[in-house]
Amino acid sequence: MEETTKSIVLGLCSGGIYALLAVSYVVIYKSTRVFPFSQAAVLIIGAYFMWFCLIVWHLPIWLGFLMTCAVGAILGMAIERAFMRPLVGQPILAPIVVTLCLMLLLRGIGILMGKGNIEGFGESFLPVGAWKFGFLHLPKIQVYGFILCMVLIAALMLFYAKTRAGLGMRVVHEDHVVAQNLGVNVKRIFQYSWVISCIIAVIVGMLLGNIQGVGLSLDLNGLIAIAAVLFGGLESFAGAIIAGLAIGILQMLTIQFIAPLLPGETTMMAPFVFLLLILFIKPYGLFGLVRIERL
């Protein structure tokens, strides 16, 4: 029982990152109706750029953080302008293939940036060590990461709820044509979505680089977060957050119960088996919209 509680708490902590990543997918999917597979590789870019700032250029942490966020913003803007805008209105396959190829393109750039090596930030920029609550050992890195993720999600929700641009984005989520008629610049909103999502992705990249080391395998986290997005429903922020946490817990429980029975990377596998199960049982997720179509 103690072990299970431990797994669940640790899972919650690591699930915060999946929740944030899932939100970064939902931001783009909700407004542009394109699923951004490329975000998985933006993680790599973010982590490597932060590594450059801290280790190669010896910049202070706050400056490195800001510069990495700026790179994320520029990346998002560039992707939207160069690749996604010409494909507005094309059949669904074209944007899917483009975002998949962008994922590999960014991965290639990641290889060039880090020469394929796994690097570290040297000194973690979040506090290390652990808190003890009875039998629970909470690594501070995870807890602070979780708190940062939740703060970012809260900030994003505030942005949606309180600002004018956020209002415009919510209109675009509902319907592109209606938004256009109401005087919302839909293209601008698409650009905002990509920028926001890419900034979130590079921040997650930094956090994950801090925990797992800066390497090419970071994009697996992005692919696992896809399972979270789907479980929550593609169109739901609340769903993404709940499902992200759920996937984190699922992974930890897998380590506890299933990993001793099966060989190999079961933690990597479990989310995808889960994804298949969701698709068989409840394909539109917890809070996804079931679109009723007619001729």
Partner: protein
Amino acid sequence: MNINRPCGTFDRNYFQAKELYRTPLRKTLLALLVVGMYLLPLTMGDYGLSLLIPICAFTIGMLGLQIITGYCGQISLGHAAFMGVGMYTVGILQRHFGFSFWFCLPLAGLIPMFLGMMFGVPALRIKGLYLAFATLAAHFVIVYVINNWRSVTNGTEGMWMKRPDVLFGIDFKSDRNYYFLVLSITIIMTYLATNLARTKLGRSFVAVRDNDIAAEVMGINIAYTKIMAFGIGCFYAGIAGALGGAYYEYVNIAWFRLEDSIWYLGFLVVGGFGSIFGAIAGAVVWKIMDELSTLVTPLAEMFLGGAAFYASAAFSLVFYSLIIVIFLVFEPRGIAHRWEIVKRSYRLHPFPY
């Protein structure tokens, strides 16, 4: 295909309607092409064969994806994994049971076919993007099983395969004879795929792709059609994998990464959706790019210094994805569409349209 015909050409009887190629010129050209493909190895050394055999194998795989994605409109992100299942089927049957290649080859098609049908079942309730997720998950499940079922698949080390035995006095150990075998199978598979598009099933594929609700209203069994598309496509993938693996006489998990599935989709776009010619063009372009990128690797070494291995890996990723993205942005209908334009402008020569 009727839609590609010039204006005013009609079929006047069933024989004409059944013909794949109408004009004597096209028939001659096709015959010349086939004969030329058989004669090619006489002019080429081992290097040429090392290009041609993978091209043929990948053409079969690409035809499979064309059936799933191009005809039926279901996105598959696990095509390379199904190809791998085909390879491993042959490898495992040879290694553990000592069956001959001829017995393994049909099984190498049928086992991926059943797997593909299984993973295609979610397609009954979902479509488009969601299906991409299902096949993505299929990819990871298949790779996990192959990596970790060590007693059967030998894990990450891969396993040796044998080329086919002697048949009708032909020894397939030599590359040239093996090329003839692969080419013949490719031609048969291409012929079957061309005809599939004209059957009831093939037409219902296209109907489901264009509008699945309308197709259902017209009485097409969507569940059956989608699952058949997955089955047939994965059958092709399996055969392609078996032929490719037997050429290298080695199977390894590293040959079908997620990248390869994405390249499959991407080069299908480069070739052109919904036509057999597009699938072949996609496979040919892909392999030529492959060859180019290995040629350019020394250059990358020169510019980037020591990390040559990673430079070449990065280069091929960047290079391919840029080509596919640029094609999608500027010519979303692919090479096949360009070819139609060239043919039309030749036919209508003095006039622009």
